[in-house]
Amino acid sequence: MVRLTDERAVWLGKEILPHEAALRLWLQHWKRRGLEVDDVIQEAYTRLIAADTIEHIKSPKRYLFQVAGSVVIDHLRRRKIVSVESVADMADLEIAATEPSPEREVIGRDELRQLAKAIAALPSRIRDVFVLRRVHGLGQREVAKRLGITESTVEKHMSRGFMLMTKLYGNGGNPSLHSSYESSACADKGNNGTQERS
């Protein structure tokens, strides 16, 4: 299996994730046919990153929608669901794919500001780890030492941090940020009082 390159991953983050919110909206159509939005998105990304080259892609948004559309078709075929309604819904794809996305085109400083806000809004323990790792650039061992926790706990916090940050990048911004943080803050309370030593 060819491993994902950083370059491809950054391309995904820069060119594809900004359109994920719009794609999620369009995929709502298919929930009544038994398709899970998250399943389709994950599988669409699997196909996206497997492409030999991305140099030729003129419209990443369109490309994303096309790939997601083919994932939907494959799912429907497997469940032997092909109806007139399906065809009509698929026609909407072209419209949704070429619609200009709402002005979420964050560039440079604006993006940095949004990132800073998202980090500040993280649950406290996760934020501590995230700031030391990402803003200060410290290694995992150093972070564990400074916070008096094990390296595996540092890793756990980072992974939760990533889960939360995908809401910033993948869901088109802030709206869902708070609700997901609340549920995560509850889960986090378990770790907040105790200090684990390695």
Binding site: D6, R8, G13, D38, Q42, G108, R109, L112, S159, F162
Partner: protein, 315 residues
């Protein structure tokens, strides 16, 4: 086996992303990761998404080491950002501004390719064994290629010139994509847009304009710069390392071996002079010199033998 929920897969992807972010995976972990990727068609995509987020958040380095977490309780969102020598500012509803921090240092190890998103949206891709420093001010974007090779995808900003120095050579860009390498000669390849290449010396002639599908080559200490044209195919080959590959078309086996030596500890040694001069072509994984050597051996009717850190090719 019951089918996992997409949420569960996201959680596992995030765990892998955190593990990989912390450092290189051990052999066992690497095998477990590969097995997880193959366990479900949704895994590679979910992981790619988390990895993208992981890399995008690296931009946070630009917030500066004075960045502090909120001081107050969660109900209030006041917090401070300090950046280097610049005064701290309050991020509130009223307004804000902050300045980028002092010099950032980016280094890649042998065989490692690293992509970094900079504060202004520009993207820096480091090749094996490379080092770049980045110093952004309000009016200038200054970078230095200390050694190795890097690609610069520059975000357009006329008010903030983007300049890369490599030794005594400087490359100035406006909304373009180009690579600079400093492995022996100083070589610049322009993929998109136009750059201006100049030398830092008093007798130097004015900067040379180098458009896309062109390259420029110069030596440290020399005043002259030579430009040359590049087809799309050649550019694609020269920059294949971005995808973790090395592509050859007519280079000698010896040249290819030298290229591979940049990407791993394994050295390809060619014991036969005639064999070393043979021309080869093809696209290979940069961090797999053994695979390349075995492949070359088959096509050139030679024999490859791995011994310690050496791969010996003979006929």
């Amino acid at each position: 086996m019951e089918r996992k929920s997409a949420h569960r897969i996201d959680q596992e992807a995030a765990q892998w992303a955190a593990k990989i972010d912390a450092g290189t995976l051990s052999k066992e972990a690497g095998a477990a990761f590969d097995a997880w990727l193959e366990s479900d068609v949704r895994c590679p995509g979910a992981y790619a998404r988390m990895r993208a987020v992981s890399l995008m958040t690296e931009q946070a380095r630009a917030l500066g080491t004075g960045f502090e977490a909120p001081l107050a309780t969660p109900s209030s969102r006041r917090w401070f950002i300090a950046a280097g020598a610049v005064a701290a500012v309050l991020l509130a509803t009223v307004g804000y501004h902050f300045a980028p921090s002092a010099t950032e240092h980016y280094v890649s190890t042998i065989g490692e390719m690293k992509t970094i998103k900079l504060e202004d949206g520009s993207i820096l891709t480091l090749n094996t064994q490379s080092e770049v420093t980045v110093h952004y001010t309000r009016t200038r974007r200054q970078l230095e290629l200390i050694h190795g090779e890097a690609i610069f995808a520059v975000a357009k900003n006329k008010e903030r010139p983007f300049v890369v120095t490599a030794g005594d050579t400087n490359v100035r860009a406006v909304g373009t994509s180009f690579s600079v390498s400093r492995v022996g000669a100083i070589k610049i390849l322009v993929q998109e847009g136009t750059v201006e290449v100049g030398k830092n010396s008093t007798e130097a002639s004015p900067a040379l304009r180098v458009p896309h599908n062109s390259g420029a080559i110069t030596q440290e200490g020399a005043a002259s710069i030579r430009t040359f044209a590049l087809s799309n195919a050649e550019l694609y080959r020269d920059l294949a390392w971005r995808d973790g590959h090395l592509a050859f078309e007519g280079q000698t086996l010896a040249e290819a071996a030298a290229e591979f030596s940049r990407y791993s500890d394994m050295k390809i040694v060619i014991l036969d002079k005639k064999l070393a001069a043979e021309e080869i072509a093809g696209r290979f994984r940069a961090t797999d010199p053994i695979g390349f050597a075995r492949n070359a051996a088959i096509s050139l009717k030679a024999h490859a033998e791995v011994s310690g850190k050496e791969i010996r090719l003979s006929r």
